[in-house]
């Protein structure tokens, strides 16, 4: 009788271990999927930004320094994105958001630019993309959080250690994201 119960416990333990392994694989892929969902939007914005810069460039007096900042920040985001360097991406994303915010603030001083249909469409598109990126960042961080908790809690931590499941980095945008744009400074 005891042997039978021990075998039953062993069977349940093995099945449970297998289900834990599958769970860890599932949450790992959920993180990868959440990252891919952000990546596709970052790529779209990367492709849209040159169009915005081109439209602004048509106005010769538009401040070149601001445009240069946007280009540099765009390149930094692209490098971090391609390397899948999450901390660097968070920092670069913060800088890019601040630069694009500065560009839009500066554009307020150019009524002709503001009345340009293509500019308005691009501004709207940029706003939609940035909101979507922010939402998907939340989703990504939730997926990362679930992954990191799962590989640390007992008994999943044993399986995670045996099969080298790793914790992932949260995507945190730097403070520039939340800083108000200093419009006075931009126009000085």
């Amino acid at each position: 009788m005891l042997l039978m119960i021990l075998i039953a416990i062993l069977v349940v333990a093995l099945l449970y271990a297998a289900s834990l392994y599958n769970r860890l694989v599932g949450v790992k892929h959920a993180v990868a999927k959440a990252w891919a969902n952000i990546d596709v939007l970052l790529k779209q914005r990367h492709d849209e930004l040159p169009k915005l810069i081109e439209v602004c460039k048509q106005y010769s007096q538009f401040e070149q320094k601001t445009l240069q900042q946007v280009i540099q920040a765009r390149n930094a985001v692209q490098s971090a994105r391609e390397a899948q360097d999450i901390p660097a991406l968070g920092k670069a994303e913060g800088v890019l958001r601040a630069s694009v915010g500065g560009l839009f603030a500066l554009a307020e001083a150019y009524p002709e630019l503001r009345s340009n249909e293509q500019y308005m469409q691009l501004q709207n598109r940029m706003s939609v993309l940035e909101n979507a990126i922010a939402d998907r960042r939340e989703l990504y961080n939730e997926a990362v959080n679930i992954n990191n908790i799962q590989i640390e809690v007992f008994p999943a931590s044993i399986i995670a250690g045996m099969f080298h499941f790793e914790s992932k980095s949260l995507l945190a945008f730097t403070a520039e994201e939340t800083q108000d744009v200093d419009v006075k400074k931009l126009f000085s």
């Binding site: 009788m1 119960i5 039953a8 099945l15 979507a132 989703l139």
Partner: protein, 299 residues
């Protein structure tokens, strides 16, 4: 808390386990128990793994926002709302205004047990709203769990109804699809149609684009006409209010879990966790019972 619809598999497995147990008890024989207890154990272990998978799907799926949700399998949370394009929905028996209902009518049989004589549920679309947007929910094929239930007696019949009400907090897990408004606007096709319209008034077309005045539109002049048509089409498109993207959540085609509930994820997870523990307990009871029967040759 009342659960309106348990997963069919869970119900089926519980039913089979009960039937096996009752059959073995009625047979009052050792062979009957030796046959039924291993089967009960086997079914319990499958039901345990199934409930565990469901529990983890709910616990491990991050919540998306409607406006930025990726296409595919997602979890959304918000409030239930009526689809104004559909007529006001009222439940079958109690005439309760709702966004979804399920009902059953039961009567007692000769043994005094309640037997279902009629049941059904609504399949009308309704809406889920969060702070970012609206999603159409197609409830067909969903496992719907509601905390709103009413049971009452009408003559010899017992009526039961479950509802999802307008304004209820709503949790959904399913296949998310978006038909994009932008994709519905085909600039190339619209430009072609514009040129066809212009061609119907050739003198006017030549007046605008026949730059060398030879009475024929050459390749360069046609290109200019085409550019002008494209600009006009884009101008019109910009002035016309673009319809919003339509998001729909429906049953996943790959058979993945499709859940709609006005219970919060933590409550839902607890619900499945109870099934996990229940089936595990049943498994061990069956195993211990089997070991006991095997040890007692005279049983």
């Amino acid at each position: 808390m009342v659960i309106s619809q348990l997963r069919h598999f869970q119900l089926a497995t519980s039913g089979v386990q009960l039937v096996l147990f009752a059959a073995a008890a009625q047979m009052e024989s050792r062979s009957g128990w030796l046959l039924s207890l291993p089967l009960i154990a086997l079914i319990s272990v499958f039901a345990w793994l199934s409930a565990l998978k469901k529990y983890r799907t709910i616990a491990d799926t991050p919540t998306s926002k409607i406006a930025s949700a990726a296409q595919g399998y997602v979890e959304l949370m918000g409030r239930a709302d009526r689809n104004v394009e559909q007529p006001l929905l009222q439940s079958q028996l109690g005439r309760q205004a709702c966004v979804w209902f399920r009902y059953s009518v039961e009567r007692r049989d000769n043994d005094g047990d309640w037997q279902t004589v009629d049941c059904g549920e609504s399949d009308t679309d309704f809406l889920l709203r969060d702070d970012s947007g609206v999603c159409h929910i197609q409830p067909t094929g969903a496992e719907i769990l509601s905390c709103h239930k009413k049971v009452w007696i009408v003559g010899a019949a017992r009526h039961s109804e479950w509802w999802l009400l307008e304004g209820d907090p709503l949790y959904v897990l399913g296949d998310f699809k978006t038909s994009q408004a932008a994709a519905r606007f085909d600039a190339e096709a619209e430009t072609g149609a514009m040129l066809v319209r212009w061609k119907q008034n050739m003198p006017q077309l030549q007046l605008r684009f026949d730059l060398n005045g030879d009475g024929v539109l050459d390749e360069h002049e046609w290109m200019l006409a085409r550019q002008a048509a494209r600009q006009e089409v884009e101008k019109i498109a910009a002035t016309v209010q673009t319809p919003a993207d339509v998001h729909v959540l429906q049953r996943p085609e790959n058979g993945a879990m499709f859940v709609i509930s006005n219970l919060m994820p933590a409550q839902l997870a607890r619900h499945y966790l109870r099934w996990v523990w229940g089936n595990l307990l049943l498994f061990f009871v069956a195993v211990i019972g089997l070991a006991f029967v095997l040890q007692q040759p005279d049983f």
